[in-house]
């Protein structure tokens, strides 16, 4: 029987953003049309993990040429099948176009967004079908595990990881090899390795993308870690908010067992190891390792005092290593290519790469993996494409609720664990939310404190009560009731909470306030002394007004106002009643004549 030769492969990005942009219906049309033209035996359609360029979705790349299609619709998919796959002519209108309208057919080879990246942890994202173990194996998958088990002792694995300089990618940056080493040295009848996939930092989605797009790399990393420390059982603790990641992990675990990479006597050696998934239940604090273990044990996810550290007494009192998703995904390439290669990338103290989730007020949002030591400017302007809408860059927030905001003066600082810490923020899990002139830094601080108040587990008083008091003061300031004394009190509380809290959540909770006070003190002062919000964001301090010169009386604003605060006759200037107005901004959004603006006070 003749074997059909595959002429083209269509890789469709099935990352979270592309799915929400309509990827499923695009894929369906691709498949239907290929069938209709009897191309389905020579063109393969593969759903991959996140390709990273999330704001261009839905995305598809057609190989062997590597033609990159963006913002696809079902209609576009049909055209691509007919023109490109049937007749061999790429459809120009769905290709990427540069600022001057120039076509970039192979965007992945041409754009700085892709070219500047060095992919290690995300090496397979957007390249393979995550539900097919053979595709992972085809990209050297499980070769590192084989090498570790057959050619290396556990001690050698540990010294390789140590020499690579790999540090935890979940936030704190603890050296991974050292963690493994301490756990290995602790004698016990049972040890555990846990993958922390409780990605809770708002603004970070790299772990989700790795789990969805390349689950086997995490399983392989765990198996290598388990071999190194002497564990026979692993747990993946994953957020309930990530159902697709859970589904893909289940498939991957099943396949890995079938192929003998998990289970009894892995690859015919004496090493036995299996993995179980535990699903979180919506508690941010469970990202803290002792709380996470309590949750796996079926308890309330409350942290406990350290020491003892998990490597001494962890899950059910047994020595336990807890590694983050991205950390584990880095392990197989290090074992396979060697520590020297890995250590040659990055800075003196921060080796390798880091995956960042670019979001907020930046042109190219999405997932990027770059060498440590890149500057914020390169990240935000070269890769991220700068700030859209002609607005001015104001700050970039890193590290989620434990981090802080970095202002424009420090855009040339290199990104690594130490330099970010010096600026009063942290690397965290790699979320980067860019903010522009419309974002109020006091309001942002309040947003994060609100988050911490909600997520504080309540066990220790400084965090439970202290963050609430800080939140109330910020609420007072943003409603125009704040005083100078409040600002002093905020500082004092921040100091106290970070020193006296039990776990990392409380200790870092004041960071968003401290960093914004440090860099945007004037904004705090404007709120308390002039009752003015310079960014015109705080509702109590602004009003919406209609410019009678510009208003043509089209009534669009009056029709959209949900509380009927706008009055006026047709073709005559309208007015907003500030007493009724809820400052929802709907009117400004629909006005086509730029007649509505915000004023403060």
């Amino acid at each position: 029987m003749p074997v059909a030769v595959v002429a083209n492969t269509v890789l469709i990005c099935a990352g979270g953003a592309c799915i929400s942009a309509g990827e499923k219906s695009v894929k369906q049309v691709f498949e239907e049309k290929l069938k209709e033209f009897a191309l389905d035996s020579v063109v393969r359609v593969v759903e991959t993990g996140c390709m990273g360029a999330c704001n261009l979705g839905p995305l598809a790349v057609i190989y062997p040429e590597g033609i990159f299609y963006q913002k696809l619709t079902p209609q576009a998919a049909e055209e691509v099948v007919v023109e490109h796959l049937l007749k061999g002519r790429p459809v120009e209108k769905y290709l990427y176009k540069g600022p001057a309208g120039e076509v970039k057919a192979k965007a992945q080879e041409e754009l700085p967004f892709f070219k500047r990246q060095v992919k290690i942890a995300t090496r397979n994202l957007g390249v393979i079908d995550p539900t097919d173990i053979e595709e992972y194996i085809g990209r050297d998958g499980y070769f590192a595990l084989m090498k570790a088990l057959k050619e290396m002792t556990p001690e050698q694995v540990i010294s390789e990881i140590k020499a690579s300089g790999l540090r935890g990618r979940g936030g704190a940056g603890f050296p991974t090899g050292l963690k493994w080493d301490i756990c290995r040295r602790n004698e016990a009848d049972q040890k555990f390795i846990i993958c922390n996939a409780d990605e809770g930092d708002p603004g970070a989605f790299m772990d989700r993308s790795i789990l969805e797009g390349d689950p086997h790399s995490v399983l392989e990393g765990m198996a290598i870690g388990a071999y190194a420390i002497g564990a026979s059982k692993g747990f993946i603790y994953v957020r309930a908010e990530y159902p697709l990641a859970i589904e893909r992990l289940n498939i991957a675990i099943e396949q890995a067992r079938e192929y003998g990479f998990l289970g009894e006597r892995v690859l015919g050696t004496d090493f036995s190891f299996d993995i179980e998934i535990r699903i979180g239940a919506g508690a941010f604090v469970c990202g803290e390792e002792t709380a996470l273990m309590a949750s796996i044990e079926g308890e309330r996810g409350q942290p406990r005092v350290k020491p003892p550290y998990p490597v001494e007494s962890g899950l059910w009192g047994k020595p336990t290593v807890i590694n983050n998703v991205e950390t584990l995904a880095n392990v197989p390439p290090i074992i396979l290519k060697g520590s020297e290669w890995f250590a040659s990338i990055g800075t003196e103290t921060s080796k390798g790469t880091k995956v960042f989730a670019l979001a907020g007020k930046v042109r190219n949002t999405g997932l990027v993996e770059v060498p440590m030591g890149i500057t914020l400017r390169e990240l935000i302007y070269e890769i991220g494409g700068g700030i859209p809408g002609g607005k001015r860059f104001k700050a970039v927030q890193t590290g989620g609720p434990s981090g802080g905001c970095i202002p424009a003066d420090y855009l040339d600082v290199t990104v690594d664990y130490e330099s970010l810490k010096e600026l009063g923020t942290i690397m965290g899990s790699g979320g980067m939310v860019v903010m522009d002139e419309d974002d109020c830094m006091v309001d942002v601080a309040k947003f994060f404190l609100g988050f911490t108040v909600d997520e504080s587990c309540g066990k220790c008083t400084p965090c439970r009560e202290g963050t609430k008091v800080m939140y109330d003061i910020l609420e007072k300031i943003t409603s125009g009731e704040g005083t100078r004394e409040d600002l002093e009190k905020l500082k004092e509380l921040a100091q106290f909470i970070s020193e006296a809290s039990l776990c990392g959540l409380g200790q870092t909770a004041p960071n968003p306030v401290l960093s914004t006070m440090k860099y945007f003190w004037d904004e705090y002062v404007a709120h308390v002394e002039e009752k003015r919000c310079p960014a015109k964001r705080c509702k109590a301090l602004i009003r919406y007004v209609i410019d009678p010169e510009r208003c043509v009386g089209c009534t669009a604003c009056a029709r959209v106002c949900p509380v009927n605060a706008i009055t006026g006759e047709v073709r005559k200037p309208h007015e907003i009643d500030p007493e009724i107005c809820t400052r929802c901004g709907s009117c400004m959004e629909v006005c086509r004549f730029d007649a509505i603006s915000k004023v403060s006070p």
């Binding site: 979270g16 953003a17 603004g203 699903i279 308890e299 979001a359 907020g360 999405g366 629909v590």
Partner: protein
Amino acid sequence: MKTTVDLASDLYKQLDEYIDSLKGKPGILINVLHRAQEIFGYLPDEVLEYVAEKLDVPVSKVFGVVTFYNFFSRKPKGKHQIKICLGTACYVKGGDKIFERFLEELGVEPEEPSKDGLFSVHPVRCLGACSMAPVVLIGEKDFYGRLTPNDVPSLIKKYREG
């Protein structure tokens, strides 16, 4: 609304089967509660008592765990659960305004079902689709990104007419 569930019902049988399948595994309370919420839609007190008895743990512990985690709900939810992302990226892109508009249009409080039982609105912290901010997830699968408050009425209409 009747909230009690017949103990002999099929739903309990489904839960029993799940619990039996986990026999011997330690620390399964949270798994069981996830399954129970899937089966019953929420976690009424009778179900919690049932779970406590079945797993032989104190009822107080089950309540303690359920009230600790945001994911578990002791109140019924709307047929369509509208989850509005209030993560950082969505917040700076106006997610809070989308949230307020949903509450206003439906005339509900957060987490409370609407009078007709069709909708409930839930603020959530980061759905991990930051590049599409602000995003809303309706049900388990329907993602809507780059929304403005003015998109809200038509979205509601779409699900109301279903």
